[in-house]
Symmetry: D2
Subunit: 320 residues, 4 copies
């Protein structure tokens, strides 16, 4: 059985990475496996930035946003040289398996590395973008949704008091998941997402119609992949003549205390990833689907996530 594994966080940080690290470390130690913590993701792997983690090293981080292992984007890991340096680092510490906590791009890198060196790698899906196929949600999504929702609740106060239109841009470059959840929970009037073509003229038409009936405030949620808030706000003003403000929530959604769900997911997946590695699993991510822990091959996990949007979109419109 494995005696030494490595763990790293890579890509954009997500709330829940810290409890995931905690779970990997403590569960592995409990299984008599030592854990090497790599700093700054693949960059630290290439540049040999690492230290052994004990029970205490992950104390007090369960409710902290971000990642104590730090993270970075690292294009060098896509190069042969970068991978070779990484492999040497792992050999140097006699590491037998690696757990990668991150999103789509992170798994892509891990997959290439497994292909090249046949080195056991298991992923834990942690990413704000909820962009991993084959699982329900990534670690951090629930926190990001609640943070965005709280911002929308605040904006609603002003939208109602000042009778204005707000266009609020939330995270989601290729996926409208957060936008849909937030728009529904926030009672928003319209949502624009990359998965669904929209015609701003129709949106404006519906606003003008509502305005004639006496409706005076709107919140339009837009996933960043569907357009920029400022452009959309400007067009709405131009087409309707109504004052429209743009707000970009941006990085606020990335940080903050992980919610119970983000933590519990992270803690369960930390154990699952260690178990998977110890049982010989590799080239795959662990995640939760329909209430059960599943293993999804990296190649499948990084494929485009299909989201059923029509049903939810209709509900948002009916309830607004």
């Amino acid at each position: 059985m494995m005696k030494k594994i490595a763990v790293l966080t890579t890509g954009g940080d997500a709330p829940g990475m810290n409890p995931a690290i905690r779970s990997v470390v403590r569960y592995a130690l409990h299984e008599k496996v030592e854990v090497l913590g790599i700093s700054r993701g693949y960059w630290g792997l290439i540049n040999d930035e690492a230290e052994w983690l004990n029970h205490r090293a992950v104390s007090g981080i369960i409710n902290q946003g971000g990642t104590v292992l730090k993270t970075a984007r690292c294009p060098e890991f896509k190069t042969e040289e970068g991978q070779e340096h990484s492999f040497q680092t792992l050999k140097k510490y006699a590491i037998e398996g690696m757990i990668v906590i991150g999103g789509n791009g992170s798994f892509s890198g891990a997959h290439a590395f497994v292909m090249r060196y046949d080195f056991p790698c298991v992923g834990i899906a942690a990413s704000i973008d909820n962009d991993i196929s084959g699982i329900d949600t990534t670690i951090g999504t629930d926190t990001a949704i609640n943070t965005a929702l709280s911002a929308i609740d605040n904006i609603r106060d002003t939208a109602t008091s000042m009778e204005r239109i707000f266009v609020v841009e939330v995270m989601g470059r290729e996926c409208g998941f957060i936008a849909l959840q937030v728009a529904l929970a926030g009672g928003c009037e319209e949502v624009l997402i990359p998965e669904r073509k929209f015609d701003l003229k129709e949106v404006c038409h519906s606003i003008v119609e509502g305005n004639i009936r006496g409706k005076v405030s709107w919140i339009v949620v837009v996933a960043e992949g569907a357009g920029r808030a400022e452009d959309i706000a400007k067009k709405i003003t131009d087409m309707t003549g109504l004052e429209t403000r743009a707000i970009v929530l941006g990085h606020i959604q990335r940080g903050g205390r992980p919610t119970a769900l983000s933590r519990d997911l992270a803690l369960n997946l930390g154990r699952a990833a260690v178990d998977c590695l110890l049982k010989g699993g590799t080239d795959r991510a662990v995640g939760m689907r329909a209430g059960k822990i599943v293993e999804v091959p990296f190649a499948q996990a990084i494929a485009k996530k299909e989201l059923q949007v029509e049903d939810m979109y209709r509900l948002i419109r009916v309830l607004s």
Copy 2:
């Protein structure tokens, strides 16, 4: 097709009841069905406290805790007379179906009413106790867990700073679900639940052992059904000689802004309940299981919920 339905909230209030009401009302209106709002649950049904709800009547409540329809416990509804009065009220307004938003006891009452009058009733599971079988969680559970977790995070600050033992009592008269989720997400050292026998001597033994190794703070989560915080704290002090404080979270967990998940669940189930009623469904609750909306007959929904606790309990102990 039905043209007039009634909606009420009954039993203990839960965060998310308001978005559920909003969804029932707006979705029904969209389906050309009128909605009568009954005040104070079955009590209002017996005493004819009701008014028609339009689109605007449920405006601005999506992020409010509690229930604008108010709620009450109502033993009279268990009597023949109470049921007969209720039936007369429904007849008076020409109501053809009823949606009951509540928990275990509420569905029990609805089931008896259906049995007696063959009157179409559909339930929406909303309850802090997560005590409904056949579904994953009730509306409000996620909010209650996050509220309790936030309290535990606060308590942890003092537990660590003052090096003390805290016994924290959370909701759950017959079910340790909230206790387990909170204990895991809060990094708590021990959890006592009704589903699992425990020996306080063992707990104290493990505390004393930890104390010898240098551990100085503990949080013991106890579901109310497993014992009273004050009693347990006293016994721990007696057996270990260490200062132990009791905290009862109580009704704090019941209120507050519903989380995104509690709201989205409520909004989806509101639609599902109306659809179920319109399609001829009765004597059943709608809920979410494994990411899908399901219908569970009342008789089954009110049966004792089985919770797999061992796996989660072990994880809590390993990670603490």
Copy 3:
């Protein structure tokens, strides 16, 4: 003694306006004075949008952001015609005094109105911008600061995890008060405010120096009156070569549940405004200075607020 007064909220909404309204209404009623609520600020005054408010009308709003009376910007109130219409509205309802809840611009309008008609007007300073002279803080400032601080805490998670520079734009067109408070409480490295000339070259110089010593993350807070986050971020990237992100908090800071301090201030000032009006006070705002309620003539209240910034600025720099 007066028997009928009017109350309105005007200008940008601020968290705490609702408890202020509650206090004005309930305290006035207690003093046997009727209260007319004007909708949409001066616009409603001009257009006769008003209704009498009873005890119950202000129930349940104490913890709500925004304003139930709604608010609007209203250039027409600066015209003779607008003022004349307003005066007619007040005469129509036999109003003997008016309470204006708002900021700088609102008091300016009220002052002109008093000058013209000698109509008793008392102001309550409620504004995110904390732009009223002669008092410590306006209603809403404490809430806005805490909302911005919570966002900064979130951003810090990513700044630390990803080792980046963030430029965060907070409210404050002419006043750096929020920026200074938030930068200090958030442990931010730099703050740019309108009251204090700054040289971006020096800021970048200090960043580069820090970077050489190993410092890897910065948060630069900028009051909107001191520059646009995006421009500043771009310049920092250009000058330092380090990745820099811009975030505009914007309207998120305006809404949300008022904090205890914002509520208590609002509730005290509501009473004070009614008392002031009943004692014959006019052309002045009530506010809190050094823990005591003070009355500041409008002409003085709308003068440029002087802020001692050097001391606080130095503390921010020393502690970062």
Copy 4:
């Protein structure tokens, strides 16, 4: 000038102690003064638990509740022997002055120590109880008030939905400050504090009268020094026949992220304490009064704090 000072936190922990430590350490280092951190308050002083703190040692704690230096109650410090051990520890490290972060009891101890050894000691008032005379509020009070208020907001949801009476016990053994602030900001109907005699019969009388007029929910806030929630709830039930629930907020109020105000106060007082010590100040606490930093001799600071309660009490009653 002094070259070496010590800092410790003692008594009950309060949110804001960490930013106070941060400020003391960083400001002192900036003034070329070394800082020794004593663990566990006076206990660590007696038992020589200490280490030098550098700039980095206080990194990342500005938004954390509790205290990284830990704290403890320490009766031994009241003994000659305890004081002598403490003095020896200070001599061992060549400490020339000490900063004590804590409350009433902590200052009492420091005062005795100064009397005995003429050793320079300056206090920073940090305590949930707001029990220090001569200053407006202690560090942590604003956070505790907001935490309690948030709990009250939650309870209000249930009180309104289920039409019940709640008795909520908040911190304040000898001082009703928190109770008054929270009762006002929470729109509570009644508040019982140690500074003001009350007759529960009158309270019940007013409840019954309200109930006859149709009022159905009450929140009665009680400072712990004025009675136990459970007893009071029982008596209300007995006297009115209405269902009444007791809730004790307890230690939840102690922890959590410090608010902006608690942090800013802590950061300002940290600097002020160092400045005071360096200028030869001793036997005194620094605090904020009427917006200005003041120095209050320990003997005066620990005297009974007089609170003007009538005015605020009346406002609470009028507005409820």
